[in-house]
């Protein structure tokens, strides 16, 4: 019995790892896998599927990209896997979320840092927004801060988790206003955090601009401010935090893009860095992203490297006080 089980397992393991690439001139020779460290149906997964849908075209990679979900613990599970267990052969890509994985690596307890990965290109930037239920008494950030000052530590507001973009925005708002509020990380991520706001389980929330945009269309929430440097084209009427006197920059903006594990051959990185931004710029991709209310922001490898480095400095400073 044991022999049989072991035999079956070994045969399958062999099948799974047999096809190894050699020589990079003809890369890619087989379908490529893109690991998303959030569950199917989430914003990152959803966008990853859209931006890679034209990968099989001849002017893109010429091979389809398959999405593999490795969700858990705010993305830690997937990124740990990418940093330690994934093959650095160019056939295993990963989706990154900034500031999440950098903030988590600063907090510790994970096996990756910004140095574990090589960025390829950025496809989207989803700023964090501050939301309240449609029937809330709060109509501006000033209302929120006034209430929080009068009731220290009692203003509950939800977000997708700890050490993710929402949490960073929350910390920045608290720091800028000099108030203490109660940030409630949600176990089911962004959609759960939004539900908590709509259902009145919490008084307010920090959420993704894309999801908040849809919820506002549905009439269930109000959006009080954007944690970004400029107003967003999806909602020109919503002021930034700075316009409302809160010194909050774009450190919490959720940048999404593609990276590979360190050790991937340079020739493959170069090839990907050249083709992938053009693939993101495809007209069909842009149309689908816009329809889904997902802001696009294409950046090349060099731009992303710069952005990662800048984030690391800001986040180390912000999280040092925790």
């Amino acid at each position: 019995m044991k022999k049989l089980l072991a035999g079956a397992a070994i045969a399958l393991a062999a099948l799974a790892s047999s096809a190894q690439a050699d020589g990079h001139a003809t890369y890619p020779e087989r379908p490529i896998m893109l690991m998303v460290s959030y569950g199917a149906g989430g914003a990152t997964d959803f966008q990853a599927r859209i931006v890679t849908m034209t990968a099989g075209n001849d002017d893109a990679l010429g091979m389809p990209v398959a999405i593999i979900n490795k969700p858990g613990a705010g993305g830690r599970v997937g990124w740990n896997w990418l940093a330690t267990a994934a093959d650095a052969d160019g056939y295993t890509l990963g989706a990154y979320n900034i500031p999440h994985f950098i903030a988590q690596s600063i907090q510790g307890g994970v096996e990756y840092s910004a140095d574990s990965f090589e960025p390829i290109a950025n496809w989207g930037a989803d700023p964090a927004v501050f939301v309240v239920a449609a029937d809330s008494e709060f109509n501006s950030m000033a209302d929120v801060i006034d209430w929080a000052k009068a009731n220290p530590g009692k203003l509950t507001f939800s977000g997708a988790g700890l050490f993710v973009g929402h949490h960073i925005a929350a910390l920045q708002i608290e720091k800028a206003a000099g108030v203490k509020m109660a940030y409630i990380p949600n176990k089911s991520g962004g959609s759960g955090a939004m539900k908590a706001v709509i259902a009145g389980e919490v008084m307010a929330g920090v959420n993704n601009l894309s999801d908040a945009f849809r919820a506002r269309e549905a009439g269930t929430i109000k959006i009080l401010g954007v944690a970004d440097l400029e107003r967003n084209s999806f909602m020109e009427d919503v002021p930034t935090m700075r316009e409302q006197g809160l010194d909050v920059d774009n450190a919490s903006v959720n940048f999404r893009g593609v990276m590979v594990p360190k050790g991937t051959p340079q020739a493959i990185i170069d090839k990907l860095a050249e083709t992938v931004p053009a693939m993101f710029a495809n007209r069909r991709v842009a149309g689908k992203m816009k329809a889904g209310g997902s802001p696009m922001h294409i950046m090349t490898r060099d731009e992303v490297l710069e952005m990662w480095a800048a984030r690391e400095v800001t986040l180390k400073d912000l999280l040092a006080g925790l």
Binding site: M1, L4, L5, A8, A9, L12, A13, A16, M33, G39, A40, G41, G42, F46, R49, I68, K70, P71, G72, A73, G74, R76, V77, N80, W81, T84, Q107, G109, G153, K154, T156, G161, L162, F163, A182, I184, P185, N186, K187, S188, S191, G192, M194, K195, A196, I198, A199, G200, E201, V202, R214, A215, E217, A218, G219, T220, K288, A291, G292, G293
Partner: protein, 499 residues
């Protein structure tokens, strides 16, 4: 009655074709261990990109309904639940199949699915505005108490001893804590990197149910290799229809419990079948027959897990809140066509939403018809010799576990849990309470931690969890459920002594 106006749209060539395709593939995928409704829908989404929105959604909706019902096939014939929703079906369904009535079990299960499914979709059609308000009533404290209500089921589920049931449940609860904690990111019981993601429910389900079966099939197959797995007696459909018609209590409790629990975001489908099964048993005069192949058990479980489908779409369609992993994937399918769910969805996109909902109604009937055809074929499956069947199940188990996230780690987790379960089963422990612990652990813990954090900023933990009408009602049901079980246990024990 606006929905009647859009019935034509279901019967166009493309729409009906999609519906047929989705139903047939859904039944096949659902019957394959490891291919859960969530995965079936996720796999189909890329195909809907180029379709008209209504057709794409009809395909996804048909897949969702029929994978849930299809999971009953492997639950009954192989004792491997196709998805967590079908766990309760294994208890009486497989027992009935072992008694030679596999065909009857399948017929009952598809007929009950039809009833529950239609009732659920009708609720979605007529009661959406009311249900949408209800879905929001369940916050962290209420969801916590629902999970605790699930825990009270553990002791009496599928094992003859309450103590063994509770022990198995505790093992399940413990296994559920393995991995990174979802809220705080703390590492717990991660001794090997393959455990960092925690124990995924699908490989665990396959391992705990399928592997002990495989081992015992191999063990017996060695002595008599002409031995058949099951013998399946013919059973006329007419009798099955009469039987389902007479089991009004099981149908009623199953359907209503399934609909209510299916509505609650984040708790939903996985435990609806089990809670309905337990409540039906509590109210049944034939209580002791449950677990031995009693038809009420199958009917309650299957009507519950299909009646949950309709209401589970309410928070998604009206509030844009996906209440279950499958609903989250469906949300992606809607958004990709530029349809933003919300309170006005029926006003803004009637030409998409109504055909989608109507198709789920028609889909239930198709699902039942094809399901009954499968029931007719089941006798052929049963002629497969034991050793061959064991090999097939093992291959399916490995394939199903691997396919969840293309990871060999999941396959090893599945095999190890399965081997452990084989030995536990020899000592009279059963897999159902263990899996229930595994499912309920994160729901109870996550909601408690979240509730406690909110409470800490307000009036404190005790008032948060112990005040509010719904909290008190749920606590009363929990206490009632415990007291009733203890009382029954004591009564049975005394009777046992008197005899």
């Amino acid at each position: 009655m606006e929905f009647l106006y859009y019935f034509d749209d279901v019967f166009t060539l493309w729409a009906f074709g999609m519906l047929l395709l989705g139903t047939i593939f859904g039944l096949i995928l659902g019957a394959t261990p490891g291919l859960s409704p969530t995965m079936a829908v996720a796999l189909a989404i890329p195909f809907t990109f180029k379709m008209e929105p209504a057709h794409g959604l009809i395909l996804l909706g048909a897949l969702y309904t029929s994978t849930v019902a299809g999971g009953a096939v492997s639950a009954i014939l192989l004792k491997i639940p196709g998805a967590p929703a079908n766990i309760a079906t294994t208890l009486d369904g497989h027992a009935m199949a072992r008694n030679g009535d596999g065909k009857r079990a399948l017929q009952l299960s598809f007929l009950a699915s039809l009833f529950g499914g239609v009732a659920g979709v009708l609720l979605l059609i007529f009661a959406t505005p009311i249900l949408a308000k209800w879905a929001l009533v369940f916050g962290p404290s209420e969801s916590f108490w629902i999970a605790i209500l699930g825990v009270t089921v553990i002791g009496t589920l599928g094992s003859n001893s309450v103590i063994k049931g509770l022990l198995a449940g505790c093992i399940g609860l413990w296994i559920s804590t393995i991995g990174f904690d979802d809220i705080l990111g703390t590492q717990r019981f991660i001794f090997h990197s393959s455990l960092a993601g925690g124990i995924n429910i699908i490989p665990a389900l396959i391992g705990l149910f399928a592997i002990p079966q495989v081992i015992s099939m191999f063990a017996k197959g060695r002595t008599r290799d002409d031995l058949e797995v099951l013998s399946i007696k013919p059973h006329p459909l007419r009798k099955a229809i009469t039987e389902v018609g007479r089991r009004t209590r099981a149908l009623g409790i199953g359907t209503s419990v399934g609909a209510i629990i299916g509505l609650i975001p984040g708790v939903g489908g996985q435990i609806a079948g089990l809670v309905a099964y337990d409540q039906t048993r509590n109210f049944s005069p034939d209580r002791e027959k449950f677990g031995t192949g009693h038809s009420e058990g199958i009917i309650a479980a299957e009507s519950a897990n299909n009646s949950m489908v309709g209401p589970s779409l309410v928070p998604l369609l009206t509030l844009s809140i996906p209440g279950s992993p499958t609903a989250a994937v469906l949300l992606g399918g809607l958004i990709i066509h530029g349809i933003f769910p919300g309170p006005n969805i029926f006003r803004d996109y009637p030409e998409v939403v109504w055909p989608f909902i109507n198709s789920m109604l028609i889909g239930q009937i198709l699902m039942c018809v094809f399901g009954l055809m499968i029931a007719g074929l089941a006798a052929n499956v049963a002629r497969v010799p034991r050793a061959v069947m064991a090999a097939v199940v093992l291959a399916l188990a490995v394939f199903g576990s691997y396919s969840v996230q293309l990871s060999m780690d999941d396959v090893f987790v599945m095999l190890i849990l399965g081997a452990g379960m084989y030995f536990l089963a020899r000592y009279g422990y059963s897999a159902a309470p263990l899996v229930l612990g595994l499912i309920l652990g994160p729901i109870a813990e996550g909601n408690f931690v979240e509730g406690a954090m909110i409470a800490a900023a307000q009036n404190g933990v005790l008032p948060y969890f112990f005040t509010g009408t719904l909290n008190l009602v749920l606590i009363a049901i929990v206490l009632g459920s415990i007291v009733y079980s203890v009382w029954l246990e004591l009564k049975n024990r005394n009777q046992g002594r008197a005899l």
